[in-house]
Symmetry: C2
Subunit: 399 residues, 2 copies
């Protein structure tokens, strides 16, 4: 397949992460290496900016600005939660033609991959010669085909640190503490809370994942047993936990244009579980709930450098593959490699339709048989992604 | 006053902070310098451990352990929320006599200072020759006499970073975002959110402090005006905001033994305000609330090094003052100094009864005339305490 010359456009979509700008900067810097790419435009707020030609010329940015942007959390171009209609996509092709755009890079999750896929199909139908590549990001880590997603490691690090601090807080002032963690369908982020444990009685003591039907009676018994055992209890629970019939334990009822119901941005689930413990666990005192909220995806300075490097590489790989490779479209995936027991990874491309729309859940071998914890296999999986964590200092442990 | 020889005991009380262990380690290391102090004991869970002789010998800890503990958030000895009765304090004197304890250091807030004060008065009545020193800590920054409190700067840094990330998140996906921040009576911590602003349209756009009566109509108008102006709105609100009649806007009704009502550990206030905006502000979409919760006081790695150094120094100063000085009791205070416009501080002692029980609110010159923001004077006050913050990278700003 011959290389095509023209301009490129890149956009960001879906919930931001701490390293989504690394992918953006990786793509911008890589694009400067190819004479096939004239200008690299940035679309403000993804699809929204594309449809209104709200573009900025990223070729004009200085290396200093780009490096500062790369270290800044959230989506520097702005993001969007908008499902592309066929009509939208037809308009898009017109915008691409108007700006001689032959390369389209779209950073986001599975909904974003779906948009890229629709655009790809339509462009082929219109016989417009161009290339489209999805660059993955999601703190939920719920994309198929890839070992893990850029953005996940940094969010996992935030959650691990938050639970590490919260476990110490709970050890200092005993009680029951519930922490609600993001993750709509997949428990990868909630499971990462287990990285907080460094000593036998460290929390989280109980972990509830969306993959396991949430049974209130079982939950109450678990908390009571933990209190009986160590006199305190730290609980990590996914915002996406569902009842045995599949309905969410708690939801505001609000939906976005992809049909996703709002789970984040409210303390309702935490407060619901907190009241449940207050009412049903007689030994419980000082019951508190925190919802970790949007800080999980956009806290400045808390990021995994492993994740940041992979996010940067994914952006660069997308550009390189579309310019030099023989695919007209695709999505970037990560393959885990190991050498002498040390973590490593490499990138590869796969078809958009294998990732678009679908979500991935935690595999059974990552969930404990008891259903209220993760396994050692999961910890082996997540530990290198979240990067080294601080070692907790403790008194009275002997020499 | 002659120096007295004997053992010392130290305890931690009240809500933990990220640097309360710095004060602990500062006191332990300083105590090793004096032959007047034999053993330095640590009381587990403050008053609780003192009353049950649950003590550990801190003299036995290695420097490596102590330095690791100093960098670890939360109270390494465990904490307590227990108001000392006269009966408790009489028992305490017996414990002190049994262990030949002549120095008592108690790290905590104004309730802790009150306990230290009661113990001091009783010991004098019993004619037991000993010295008691309160070492301040509180993220609320609500102690009198001192310019600011150890623990505040680190929490202020956390809040500033959280709002910085959240403002970027809100800029990427527009809407109304409410962040509920700790601070029962004083708005110092909520006000620190203003440090997140680096550009003209950066949030937080509205700040509600406990010092200003919260008027719902006014709040609704403020949010509507902000949306009209910039199409989005980030709001920092104290958990302690009260209605014009003085009652809290939202509370669970639960109280601790000091009579403090539970404000933290629930998302109820955020959800209440969120629903208010959804119902009353017609232009509002995507309304979300997060309660920053316990992460504000115990997040590993997020601390101000200025605060950490002052906390360490406060612990050391307490020991030095009690051994070398001519006071039998006191509380450590910080005085701000400046040299060529650069921030500096020095420590001094004052009487326990000047700090015990009382709380300090934000002075009028720190609150904007509009009542929904802080002033430049407040930013000058808080900026050096929170330490340097990262610079936000932005695209499309021109060369």
């Amino acid at each position: 397949m011959p290389n095509i010359k023209g301009n490129a456009v890149i956009g960001q979509s879906g919930g931001p992460t701490c390293v989504i700008n690394e992918s953006l900067v990786g793509a911008i810097l890589e694009s400067a290496k190819y004479e096939e790419i004239g200008h690299m435009y940035g679309a403000r707020h993804g699809l929204e900016g594309l449809l209104t030609s709200d573009l900025i010329d990223l070729t004009a940015e200085t290396p200093e600005t780009l490096e500062r942007v790369a270290r800044t959390p959230s989506a520097a171009l702005g993001s969007v939660r908008k499902k592309a209609t066929e009509e939208d996509c037809k308009e898009l092709i017109d915008v691409f033609k108007a700006h001689d755009i032959r390369y389209f890079f779209y950073i986001g999750g599975n909904d974003t991959a779906e948009t890229a896929h629709i655009v790809d199909e339509l462009a082929r139908g219109e016989d417009y010669d161009f290339r489209v590549c999805h660059i993955p990001k999601t703190i939920d880590n719920d994309l198929r085909e890839t070992d893990h997603c850029p953005g996940y490691g940094s969010a996992a690090r935030f959650v691990a640190l938050a639970l590490m601090g919260d476990n110490l807080d709970n050890a200092a002032l005993k009680g029951v503490k519930i922490d609600v963690i993001m993750g709509r369908h997949a428990g990868f982020l909630t499971g990462a809370s287990a990285l907080a444990r460094q000593a036998e009685t460290d929390g989280p003591h109980l972990i509830y994942l969306p993959e396991v039907a949430f049974d209130e009676e079982r939950f109450i018994d678990d908390v009571a047993a933990c209190l009986d055992d160590i006199g305190r209890c730290v609980i990590a629970v996914s915002e996406g936990i569902s009842r045995p019939d599949g309905s969410p334990v708690f939801t505001s009822g609000e939906k976005d244009s992809h049909g996703n119901i709002q789970l984040s941005g409210t303390g309702a689930l935490g407060d619901y579980l907190s009241n449940l413990v207050k009412d049903k666990v007689s030994a419980a005192s000082r019951v508190r709930a925190d919802t970790l909220g949007y800080m999980q995806r956009c806290f400045p300075g808390i990021r995994s450098e492993v994740d940041a490097a992979e996010a940067r590489a994914a952006g660069a790989f997308a550009v390189k593959s579309m310019v030099e490779g023989d695919l007209s479209s695709g999505t970037v995936c990560i393959r885990r490699t190991e050498f002498s027991g040390r973590y490593g990874s490499e990138l590869f491309m796969t078809d958009l339709d294998k990732v678009a729309k679908y979500t991935k859940e935690m595999p059974a071998e990552f969930i404990s048989e008891t259903g209220n914890d993760v396994t050692a296999a999961f910890l082996d999986y997540v530990r290198p992604l979240a990067d080294d964590l601080p070692v907790i200092g403790r008194l009275g442990q002997g020499a």
